[in-house]
């Protein structure tokens, strides 16, 4: 999968490194600011320190 992406990036080695870095930043930002906040309510171990049965 990653070899395929590398192979299909335009440009020489230097340009490819820049492109990979940019891709990593974009994917990380997408995960950190969009995907994770969205799935968080459904993850079992992020409760707020509350007791139930009040």
């Amino acid at each position: 999968m990653y070899v395929w992406i590398w192979h299909h990036l335009p440009g020489n080695l230097a340009l490819k490194i820049v492109e990979v870095t940019a891709l990593l930043i974009v994917v990380s930002a997408l995960l950190l600011f969009v995907v994770f906040p969205w799935i968080e309510p459904h993850v079992p171990f992020t409760r707020g320190g509350t007791v139930n049965g009040q």
Partner: protein
Amino acid sequence: MLDGTDTQLDPGPPPESPAVRSAGRRARMTTGDKVRFGLRGVGQTLITLGLVTLLFVVYEVWITNIFAHWRQEKVHTQLEQAWQDGIDPLALPGGNQSGIPIGEGIANIYIPRFGRDYHFTVVQGTDDASLSKGPGHYVGTALPGEVGNFGVAGHRVGKGEPFLNLDHLRPGDAVIIQTKTQWFVYRVIGNVDKGEAGLSWQDLNGVPGREIVDPSAGRVLAPWPDKPGSPAPPTYNRYMTMTTCHPKFTAAQRMIVHAQLDATLTTASIGPSQMPASIQALYSAPGL
């Protein structure tokens, strides 16, 4: 034909272009090649999933703190502004709490044991959205200073982590609640001479300073803590209860700290709220 003319030597088939060559190779992929290809894909997927999980942990302990800090700043500013405008979210017609919007700031909390820089604006409500702004007041439990049990929940790790160090509280430690017109000083219950061990000591109503409970233990929020169904006790009946997750990184249990109202200071609210000298003195208390 041997007639002296040069016969053009057959150059043979044209050299294979790389595309044709690899197509030929792909067509001749062995089972072994397929297995290796599949395993490589599985390996890459697992590593990717591992990295994403790692990134999620980074998110929980770092990114959520950044968001929460921003939300807490907003809520704090809104409350201070409301006080300056003469509005008290806790001044309810007929004392009815249901008039307080969920997620709205109601009071400030200061805990000298956690340092001079520690302060949070407590919001009304304990749902996820409210707790992402700061500590939250359990709806229906007493308000600050009232008879009964003023219940406050807070995150332990991430999302601002207001109660990260709840385990550092010792018997007698001050927990300060500031409203528009009053300062309340609650003190953690327990035997002050015994340090952390003194937290298991119970007051005259049978309430300990600290207990570790199941997440379902709503009894700790009862008007008489740990005695659900009973009204508040006849004396020493102005409790405050703080709840958070325990152990630190899991939600398996809850850490509960109980405190009793020790002093009330009524101050006229003029302009930006200043901490009265007697409250400031609590930061110089011996043993901190």
